[in-house]
Structures are given as structure tokens and as C-alpha cells.
Subunit: 122 residues, 2 copies
């Protein structure tokens, strides 16, 4: 049985991991080799490309981290969860928020389709 919270927490942990080696371990353990990621701003195929997206977001938002919002849910091989990205300080306002839909294969992430729920004014 898929545990949506466990999948979501592992996913968020990967995006928050600053060490490239540990991110590589998380990709290897939790994602399929041909995993695909797409959201309104970027897309990648395979761990190397997707890790490039992760590092790009890290360099764009130094000192920010991702947090889960609400309760992850899912059915079958699908998991859905919402997140925020904001400054890594207490009581920071939620600056950016989104919802991701993950498709699993044999318990590992095969694809991620992300949507933005809140975007700060430009």
C-alpha cells in the first residue's frame, strides 16, 4: 500500500537536501530511472536533469525551504500533496505554494506534475 504522507515527506526532503550526494541517494531509492518532472516553469527527465531543477531552485531561493501543507492524499499509484516554499525562519509568510501530483511505479516516483497555487506578486 502506498503511504501518501511518506511519499510526500520523502519528496520534500529531497528538495530540501543541500548535499548533492544525499540527493543522489534519495533519487536512487525513491525515483525510477526514467522519472519525469514537469510544472508551469520547468521540466526534466531522469535524476540528473531533475536534480538540475532542484539546484536551480536552491540557487534562486537561498535560505528558503519547502514545507508540506495539509494532508497528502492519494489512490492507487497516485499521490497528491501541497507545499510552500519560503524563508527558513519561524512564522515566515508563505511566499510560494503549489500542489504536486505524483505517479508511482513499484512504489517509486515515476512522474511528477506540479501546479502553482500561490505566486508572490512581481
Amino acid at each position: 500500500m502506498t503511504d501518501p504522507r511518506q511519499i510526500a515527506e520523502s519528496y520534500i526532503a529531497l528538495w530540501n537536501e543541500d548535499d548533492a550526494g544525499r540527493r543522489g541517494d534519495l533519487f536512487a531509492a525513491g525515483w525510477t530511472d526514467d522519472a519525469h518532472y514537469v510544472d508551469p516553469l520547468m521540466h526534466g527527465h531522469g535524476a540528473a536533469e531533475i536534480d538540475g531543477l532542484v539546484t536551480g531552485v536552491k540557487s534562486q531561493f537561498p535560505g528558503f525551504s519547502f514545507r508540506l501543507i495539509g494532508k497528502p492524499d492519494g489512490h492507487g499509484d497516485y499521490v497528491r500533496f501541497s507545499w510552500s516554499l519560503g524563508p527558513d525562519v519561524a512564522d515566515a509568510p508563505l511566499e510560494i505554494g503549489g500542489t504536486d501530483v505524483v505517479l508511482l511505479r513499484d512504489g517509486r516516483i515515476q512522474s511528477v506534475v506540479g501546479f502553482l497555487d500561490r505566486v508572490p506578486p512581481m
Copy 2:
């Protein structure tokens, strides 16, 4: 370019269509032949099976209709929108609500993954 609102409105119109012939026309016009539907409660493959899901919901909730909630969004071939299902009268409380993620192929619905956002207490 995909128009998320147009896709969402066509989708809702199909679920609200009581005439089987017109639903068949809507499937033929807006869905691929191998379209797939899945949500936490049911799944179907191809127009005939998915139409069976639609008629099942209709018989389970007579006098109810679907309404779009909020603003459909999307990127690339993906569209996301939220809906409610409730009595077809003015100011009815929203009884059931969900969010669907649609993947298009050549502008037609290839797959739908649905999630439930609000479910009435049993």
C-alpha cells in the same frame, strides 16, 4: 494553445449531460479513443466504460449537477480544475468537491486523475 477553462467547461458539461447520444458526441469530440479515467472510487478505459461511470454517478445523485469551482489552470498538455457536485437548486450547500488533473493529447482528453477535496460525512 490549451485553454484550461474551455477544457474544464467541456468536461463538466459532459458529466452534466443527461442525453446519452450527446454525451457520445462530447466523448468523440473531446476525448481520445483510449482515454483513461481514475479517481479514488472508480476507473474506466475508453468512452464506453467512462460513460458508465458518468451514468453511475447520475443514478447515485439524481437532481445533482457538477459546477466548476475557482479558476482552471494548466501548463503544456495538463489542465487542473476543481468542481463541486450538489443539488441543482439555488444556494445549495456544496456537498462533494474534488480536483481533477487532465492530460491532453492533440487537444483531446487522454487521461483524467481525480482527487476528492470534500466528502460529506457518512
